[in-house]
């Protein structure tokens, strides 16, 4: 009788790795209602689907090997809604999930398998930065930069990042390289921690001011959405991925159309005021056009005069860029330009057709914008839209003024354009145009001013553009959803199976 093999050591080593940074540290997190790195994976992935890679990995320094289960970054593959994904979950209980030689090798492996086999890469961030003392001194330099593609972002598969604690170093870098970043309120993201910042530049800083959710969702735009809990953040990751293909070589998945999706469009005029001077929230229009409850807005607190949102029409994923008159009257500022460009790059890279809903009085002019390089940002957007190869459809709802008309898909910058009957294609506001062209002010000659405004306004109506076939149709607002359903089916790009040329895939990851 052969001797039964003894796997005790294997079992012991696995158990030790699964115990992470020890019960004391894990209990502290439980007390604060913060999930640990493995619990996060359980919430994120389909039950039983996680296949770990590198459970027995540990520090390359023998002295630290016993204290570094999985070397602080838990890595592997799993499924979300039955679709494969690659994932790295930072384990803060192990030396603050600091970046090291071995866990760097793990990230590199996961990333390259994700690319080769066409899986989204998900990074659950919470890390202290570079591991000390490994990186100190000239010898420390020798372990950095062993992977020259470490920060290469070529958008072969979607990348998603969740910021779930203190994020410095790799968690920050990968978040900035991602297509979507969600932050739990209370988490921070910065180049270096507030402690390091205080020591280095003698500046006392509050972590929230240095890199909290308000800063990143409102001012920098580096984070798309902030939520209250880890669980909500992980739901956001799943929801974002549901709109995208697993890799750039396939079209996005098609979902079932929820019952009642055609109802909301019927009262669309209730949310769009007849008066041109009145503002409204264009997200209420978008909700009525999309399949029910499929709106997934990106960067809602950043560049608010422009809305960028994923959604579905007839079960198909679409990206919508809409001006929002509720903020700054819909005028396009520098942040709105950055937001539009990054959204164009993302949608085009992952074969998501684009819809523009235009209602804008022009670029926001003024010293502030010029100081921030507004003309360059406007041209970034123009350069991007010119290179987009997914279908582009533009609908002008009300005003569509100035050069920004082109940024919103005007002229041949869309494959197909239509207008609502109320559309106003002036170069500037009619009253301002009468001032500039005729030198007539309302205060001096009210009757003549009114007549001139009327004649200029008439000239701005969509009929001439429709007659010249520069727009393909004029549609009533309540026909918008059916119109888009029809056009998305017509512009199917059947010969390429809906896959674009991805000319923007190597563009920057923020603007």
């Amino acid at each position: 009788m052969s001797q039964k093999p003894d796997y005790t050591e294997l079992q012991q080593r696995r158990a030790k790795a699964l115990a992470m940074g020890g019960e004391e540290r894990l209990a502290k997190r439980r007390a604060q209602n913060i999930l640990n790195a493995r619990e996060r994976l359980s919430h994120l992935l389909d039950a039983g689907s996680f296949h770990e890679s590198g459970l027995l990995a540990a520090s390359y320094r023998p002295a630290a090997r016993d204290k570094t289960p999985a070397d602080g970054k838990i890595a592997g593959f799993g499924k979300i809604d039955g679709r494969p994904v690659a994932v790295v979950s930072n384990d803060f209980t192990v030396l603050g999930a600091s970046s090291s030689v071995v866990n760097g090798k793990k990230i590199k492996h996961i990333r390259s398998v994700a690319n080769e086999s066409g899986m989204p890469l998900i990074l659950l961030g919470e890390s202290a930065g570079a591991r000390m003392p490994d990186r100190m001194g000239a010898e420390g330099r020798a372990i950095l930069g062993q992977d020259p593609a470490e920060y290469l972002r070529d958008r072969r598969t979607p990348w998603v990042s969740a910021l779930l604690g203190s994020c410095y170093g790799s968690s920050t870098w990968y978040s900035c390289l991602s297509d979507f970043a969600v932050m739990r309120k209370g988490a921070t993201m910065a180049v270096a921690s507030s402690r390091v910042t205080e020591l280095a530049i003698k500046q006392s800083v509050d972590p929230e001011d240095l890199g909290g959710w308000k800063l990143h969702t409102g001012t920098t735009g580096l984070v798309d959405v902030a939520v209250d809990t880890d669980e909500e953040a992980l739901e956001m990751v799943k929801r974002f991925l549901s709109y995208l293909p697993s890799h750039n070589g396939e079209a996005p998945p098609i979902a079932a159309v929820p019952a009642g999706s055609d109802d909301a469009i019927k009262d669309i005029l209730d949310v769009v005021p007849q008066s041109r001077t009145k503002t409204y929230d264009s997200r209420e229009v978008i909700r009525r056009i999309l399949d029910k409850d499929t709106m997934f807005e990106l960067k809602p607190r950043f560049g608010k005069s422009l809305v960028t949102t994923l959604g579905r029409i007839d079960g198909k994923s679409v990206g919508i860029i809409a001006n929002n008159p509720k903020f700054k009257g819909g005028s396009i500022d520098v942040d709105a330009c950055a937001k539009a460009t990054s959204f164009l790059v993302m949608c085009d890279s992952f074969n998501v057709p684009l819809i523009f809903l235009a209602d804008q009085p022009g670029f926001l002019i003024g010293i502030d914008g010029e100081k921030r390089g507004a003309p360059g940002r406007i041209m970034n957007w123009m350069n991007a839209i010119t290179q987009v190869t997914v279908p582009k459809i533009t609908i002008t709802l009300r005003k569509n003024y100035g050069q920004a008309y082109l940024n919103m898909g005007g002229g041949r910058n869309s494959n197909e354009s239509a207008a609502w009957p109320e559309a106003d294609y002036g170069f500037m506001d009619a009253g301002t145009a009468v001032n500039v062209l005729h030198g007539v002010r309302y205060e001096d000659e009210p009757e003549r001013f009114k007549q001139l405004v009327e004649s200029v306004t008439q000239d701005n109506a969509p009929w001439a553009l429709a007659a010249l076939y520069e727009i393909q149709d004029v549609i009533a607002p309540h026909e918008t959803r059916d119109y888009l359903k029809a056009l998305l089916a017509i512009h199917s790009r059947a010969p390429s199976r809906g896959i674009g040329q991805h000319r923007l895939a190597n563009w920057p990851t923020s603007y």
């Binding site: 001077t277 503002t279 903020f327 009257g329 500022d333 506001d429 301002t432």
Partner: protein, 73 residues
């Protein structure tokens, strides 16, 4: 409790003041409405809060960046 300022992000004239000190407001709720660029443009609360002070009056001309109200969050 912290006090935050709500600044106008656009130059214009105050057309309507919609809140008074002590009012509770939601995120994105309109605080005042400006007339600017021939539009009625609302200035909204950046987050849910209590209005502490309204710093402008109807008819007043204001510039981009001016504080229109302070909120207690």
């Amino acid at each position: 409790m912290a006090i935050i300022s709500i600044n106008s992000d656009i130059t214009g004239t105050v057309w309507k003041v919609l809140v008074k000190p002590g009012d509770s407001v939601e995120e994105d709720q309109e605080l005042i409405i400006l007339e600017s660029m021939k539009m009625e443009i609302p200035v909204t609360a950046s987050e849910a809060a209590i209005v502490q002070e309204v710093c402008v009056t109807e008819g007043q001309a204001i510039s981009e960046g001016d504080v229109v109200a302070t909120l207690e969050v």
